[in-house]
């Protein structure tokens, strides 16, 4: 993809956690790009670095022991150094807004829904016609007027998530970052929220970065997918390509799991071993210990990102393709 048609590019993002005096990478050389109005998904399990990635975009890393070690972000052709935390923090709101897994803990329990939405609107545009804008946002997230006077605890989980989305949209962001927005919800409520995000995306032409462990959720909203494992972006491509011809053994295993494929013996096709936690820098492919087709070099040499096919739009970080 050329730089020209993406509104957002992040390159070489690395995030370091300092634990007991050691520097451990939560995210390493990860990247993303995003077109106007497009939805991309970052897929990974716990410890893959997907949430840290999102938090680095929002400059919301836990301040004490985490820092961005490197990373460049380009928005509409303007470059930002992601190491510069305060510079990144200025992009919050207008450029990026975020919704989280657990809306209740991000809503102020002592403020009505209306005042929390108003706060978001004023933050971005102090002279806005607040009443008009609130009504607009409420319609956008399909919430009835009576919710405005309610407090967060009086709403259901699905309604709270709608409120959180309304607050995020109150700043008119270019990109909505959604970190596991439906994981805490019941499956029917999840379907409602996914349908809602899809509508909003279409109605206001908003771009979406969706972070999830669930390939099903990602594929229902996103045109392109970035798969993360052990802090690295290990595969990226169009949703259809990733699902039909996954190139990385990990992606293949994830898809088998999501389809609940059973072998001839009736057992589920599965991955052995455990998800890696924070990785130490260097050495081989993070997936090598669990990989069924690992070669000797996988343990020692980190594979580089290589084009698989699809005119260079589908790439994977695996020695089988380099």
């Amino acid at each position: 993809m050329s730089a020209a048609d993406s509104m957002l590019r992040i390159r070489d993002l690395s995030v370091v956690y300092e634990i007991d005096g050691r520097e451990l990478f939560a995210v390493k050389n990860a990247f993303i790009d995003l077109k106007m109005g497009e939805g991309v998904g970052i897929v990974g399990e716990s410890g893959s670095g997907k949430s840290t990635f999102a938090r680095a975009m929002m400059a919301l890393l836990p301040a004490t022991n985490a820092r961005v070690a490197s990373g460049v972000m380009e928005i509409d052709g303007v470059s930002y150094d992601m190491v510069d935390k305060s510079g990144m923090a200025r992009l919050r709101g207008r450029t990026f807004a975020m919704v989280f897994q657990d809306p209740l803990s991000y809503l102020n329990p002592l403020m009505t829904i209306r005042s929390q939405i108003v706060e978001a609107i004023r933050l971005n545009d102090p002279s806005a016609n607040v009443d008009h804008r609130v009504r607009e946002l409420l319609d956008l997230v399909r919430l009835p007027q009576r919710c405005l006077t309610a407090y967060p605890h009086e709403l259901s989980g699905g309604m709270r998530q709608r409120v959180l989305i309304a607050i995020a949209l109150g700043c008119r962001p270019k990109v909505l970052i959604a970190d596991e927005p439906t994981t805490a919800l019941d499956v029917t409520t999840q379907a409602e929220i996914l349908a809602l995000i899809k509508d909003i995306k279409r109605e206001i032409g908003m771009s979406l970065v969706l972070i999830s462990h669930d390939l099903g959720v990602v594929s229902s909203l996103c045109e392109r997918v970035f798969v993360m494992y052990g802090g690295y972006t290990i595969e990226t491509g169009a949703r259809e390509k990733i699902l039909s011809t996954p190139a990385h053994p990990y992606t293949q295993a994830l898809i088998h799991t999501a389809r609940a494929v059973r072998g001839e013996d009736g057992r589920f096709v599965t991955l052995s071993g455990d998800v890696p936690r924070l990785v130490e820098a260097g050495k081989g492919c993070p997936f090598a210990p669990r990989c069924g087709v690992a070669m000797p070099q996988c343990d020692t040499v980190l594979p580089s990102l290589a084009h698989v096919n699809d005119n260079g739009r589908h790439s994977a970080r695996c020695h089988m393709h380099s």
């Binding site: 716990s46 099903g216 594929s219 994830l254 991955l271 455990d274």
Partner: protein, 323 residues
């Protein structure tokens, strides 16, 4: 594999439970329900939060007493046993928990956890160490000798869930009652746990009551599926048949709502989502696209569909709105 004609291991008949709030409001957590589980059978109990599935599981384990009805384990009515006898009998049912972290006393080593469970089975065990190692090996915590003297919080979440199954096994149960055992596990670990449960069923003839919110797992994993909505069993039957061709509008909704990786299901599920005021009849009335007038006032009875299936709905399956 499933001895259909054999006497059920666990029989819940006409059990019901109503919780009364401080303000006197009543919540029907479980409406009169029947649940039988045959030896070696895997039954998935599916429902969303508030469906009463966890309460029903607690009633099955005799941890929660039903207001009415009976709970029989291997033919014995647990509710009529003395406390002492109940303690002895219930060992044949073992729970596996959702959160494997809270499932273990943080002060016990894996050895102590297993010894305690081994000591509970009837009969004296001469060599608990050999047995404990064997069980660890059985659930795939190998080499077992490396695990036995560690503490549950020192192993990974996936391994802890295996340990939870190991503890259940150590008591030599007839049935395992697992409440959302996959919720805490990473996607790539889930298959491992399901495979382990499948192996245990095959090799030890264990019955499994698998409580889950995820109907897609029920489809691939269970022999029989039981769907609950607000305390009512709305549909039950062989998993493959029920999910290929649901007979209750709620089952249809649940099934359509699962985001499948192949295909854009959102449009299909949109047609099934509505909201209307509550009625006094069927609890699903307020969300049901197929509802007729009668549903608002009357509670539907149970209808049979073939030999093995049952559903509670006034609207015949062929007249229900599909997604």
């Amino acid at each position: 594999m499933i001895a259909v004609d054999a006497a059920p291991v666990l029989e819940l008949d006409e059990v019901e439970r109503t919780f009364v709030g401080r303000d006197g409001s009543e919540v029907k957590a479980v409406r009169p329900s029947r649940l039988h589980i045959a030896p070696g059978e895997i039954v998935a109990l599916v429902g969303e939060s508030g469906s009463g599935k966890s309460t029903l599981a607690k009633i099955a384990l005799a941890l929660e007493l039903p207001d009415k009805g009976s709970v029989r384990l291997e033919g014995r009515d647990l509710l009529r046993l003395s406390k002492r006898e109940l303690r002895r009998r219930r060992i044949a049912m073992q729970p596996v928990f959702q959160d494997p972290t809270a499932a273990f006393n943080p002060r016990r080593s894996i050895r102590q956890v297993l010894y305690e469970a081994i000591a509970c089975r009837s009969g004296h065990t001469a060599d608990p160490e050999r047995l404990a190692l064997e069980i660890l090996h059985r659930v795939g915590l190998t080499p077992a000798a490396n695990f036995i003297d560690r503490y549950p919080h020192e192993i990974s979440g996936g391994q802890r869930q295996r340990l939870g199954i190991a503890r259940a096994l150590a008591a030599k149960p007839k049935i395992i009652i697992a409440d959302e055992p996959l919720s805490g596990a990473d996607v790539s670990i889930r298959g491992q746990i399901l495979n382990l449960l499948l192996d245990l069923r095959r090799e030890e003839g264990l019955s499994i009551l698998f409580i889950t919110h995820d109907i897609s797992i029920a489809e691939v994993f269970a022999d029989r599926v039981v769907v609950m909505y607000r305390g009512m069993i709305v549909e039950e039957g062989p998993a493959s048949e029920v999910l290929k061709n649901p007979a209750h509008p709620y089952t249809r909704l649940l099934w359509a709502a699962v985001p499948h990786i192949d295909g854009d299901d959102i449009e299909a599920v949109r047609r099934l989502i509505i909201a209307r005021p509550e009625g006094s009849g069927c609890p699903f009335y307020s969300r049901c696209v197929s509802a007729i007038e009668r549903c608002a006032q009357e509670m539907p009875g149970s209808h049979s569909l073939g030999q093995t299936r049952q559903y509670r709905c006034f609207v015949q399956p062929q007249n229900q709105i599909a997604g």
